[in-house]
Symmetry: C2
Subunit: 342 residues, 2 copies
């Protein structure tokens, strides 16, 4: 016979209410009590009945997180922060990999298995405003990144134009005379992250009175190390190669550094390099990487808070929120010889 | 009124059966047809009713993957392979981060939300054979890694003793005279991955007639870059520092390399370094990292195949499988100066 809540309570020496609180993931239960209840659940092989729970609360405690890739460190680190923030609310996160494909992203924002999940956090690459408009207000949804800002859905992002502008200024101030950019994608539209970062790059160059050489804006297919490596090789093969490169994420920058080393050139003495994201690797690479560090913990907290606000029910007049997360420029060895701290 | 299968079929210009096949994730549907159906699903905001589906098939199409961390590149890359392999069967993967904690792992193997999921793939760190025995045969479960081999559950792993032995031999043959190891964990038992890798390390040293200096086996708390960095600093501060180091994963090795560079020493001229896992970073770091490369694609395929075998129902006499996945030693610049290919 399956074990009941009552059996678990007896074994753990706590009230049925306490077991129920643990099972439903309420916070503010001591670690010791939670441990005792979880041990009893395990010993008795007790299975909380999610369907019953759902009928009672109207919620499953499951949320979906849709990201283009999970093996890209930025998304892996961000997902880890979101799982932690969701856990504080007793939620389990279903991570869904879209590959950045529009049809998959359409399903993701429309609530893949929305009969099982309470809400979704999605980081879209390819869907359009029309896709969002079609499903708006049908279920809790928070979007990450600047794609589709102002489409009437809660949004958490970092200001890419400002950040790209700041990091480009840093390269110019550090002595870059021919500054290149790696990370434009041919298929991206004007509201995509890559387009916004190009915009910030152009803004800084223009403000400094520098010409923007279009052939120094290198396009990529993807955002992994091999893409940065290939783009940097093309730039180094030019008759007028750059002496500074703004890369639109850390992986592109780390691939670019590898290409510079393979060409027997030095970073930053011959070519200074910057990234975006501040993944852990940026603090351990040789040389350590100058980058834009978004506050990923704050980003995760904000996304989960906004989703919780929607799941628990909003007053009808509440407007969608657009939260801009702070970032900082972290200067390391890849632009400043001798910089040695993280 | 909610849209029905019939509405979707009419909009996509296909049969109801075809829509049902797409929704249930059957393979062998052309990309064009699948795209048309998915577009119609999205336009009509159709929600397949998972509860109804479950009643019909007895399955939800959801599987859980429990890993200690998702921001560790090895697990992120492995998870990505498993999501791809599961997608081929129309499954959605719920990724669950256990933090390596026993109570969380107990819940994971017992089937967190087993009323929603069809089966689980878990990579345990802390649970015991007794934990597995308690829940064995209650639902589909495949374990990853060598922890708890021979406990009567389907298992997929890499032979850590043999692999650690091979990489240690390589360091000895490359001229290492004082070979250290980084990655022992004080809290791990004899069947843990770290203990097995130490065992392989000792085996190679003994076979080569080298003494094993216990103080050259450096312990760590975790398996991230900072742990490798700290351990390497301790080793370099010894009166008799090593000239070669076997690290038990790539992140530890990359942290160790950073510590060697910070001490103004060279890799491999002063200290040769090896890793385990062959994460993408190992092919782009400076220097590129010599490492043990398990076939992660094969690992994911084997795990998903074993789980599918259980989910679809096994003949009662079927024995649990233990699948050992092939690996290879990939020699790069961190042990062989001038090695330049991946």
């Amino acid at each position: 016979m399956p074990s009941s809540l009552k059996d678990v309570a007896a074994r753990a020496g706590v009230s049925v209410k306490t077991v129920s609180n643990v099972v439903n993931g309420y916070p503010f239960i001591s670690v010791a009590t939670r441990g005792r209840v979880e041990a009893a659940i395990s010993e008795l092989n007790y299975r909380p009945n999610a369907s019953a729970r759902r009928l009672r609360t109207g919620r499953s405690g499951l949320i979906a997180l849709s990201v283009p890739e999970i093996d890209a460190p930025y998304f892996a680190e961000l997902a880890s922060h979101i799982v932690d923030a969701a856990e504080q609310r007793g939620w389990t996160v279903l991570i869904d990999k879209t590959g950045g494909e529009r049809s998959h992203e359409q399903l993701a924002v429309a609530g893949i298995r929305s009969d099982l999940i309470d809400g979704a956090i999605a980081s879209p690459l390819s869907i359009t405003t029309a896709d969002i408009t079609a499903i708006k207000d049908t279920h809790p949804l928070v979007l990450l990144g600047e794609k589709l800002m102002r489409c009437g859905v809660d949004h958490v992002a970092v200001d890419s134009v400002a950040a790209a502008c700041e990091v480009t200024e840093h390269l110019i101030e550090s002595g870059g005379t021919r500054v290149a950019a790696i990370g434009m994608r041919a298929e991206d539209d004007a509201e995509s992250t890559s387009a916004l970062r190009v915009q910030g790059f152009r803004k800084a160059m223009t403000a400094a009175g520098r010409p923007v050489h279009e052939h120094l804006i290198a396009t990529v297919h993807g955002y992994y190390r091999p893409d940065g490596y290939a783009a940097m090789r093309r730039l180094l093969a030019l008759p007028d190669p750059p002496d500074a490169v703004v890369c639109f994420n850390d992986l592109l920058a780390l691939g670019a550094i590898r290409a510079i080393h393979d060409a027997r050139l030095r970073v930053p003495a011959d070519v200074a390099v910057t990234g975006f994201d501040d993944i852990e690797e940026a603090r351990f690479s040789t040389p350590r990487l100058t980058t834009i560090a978004p506050d990923k913990g704050a980003l995760a907290e904000a996304a989960v808070d906004l989703l919780a606000r929607q799941i628990t029910g909003l007053p009808p007049e509440t407007k969608p929120q657009e939260v801009l997360i702070p970032y900082r420029l972290v200067v390391r060895q890849s632009t400043l010889p001798g910089a040695d701290t993280a």
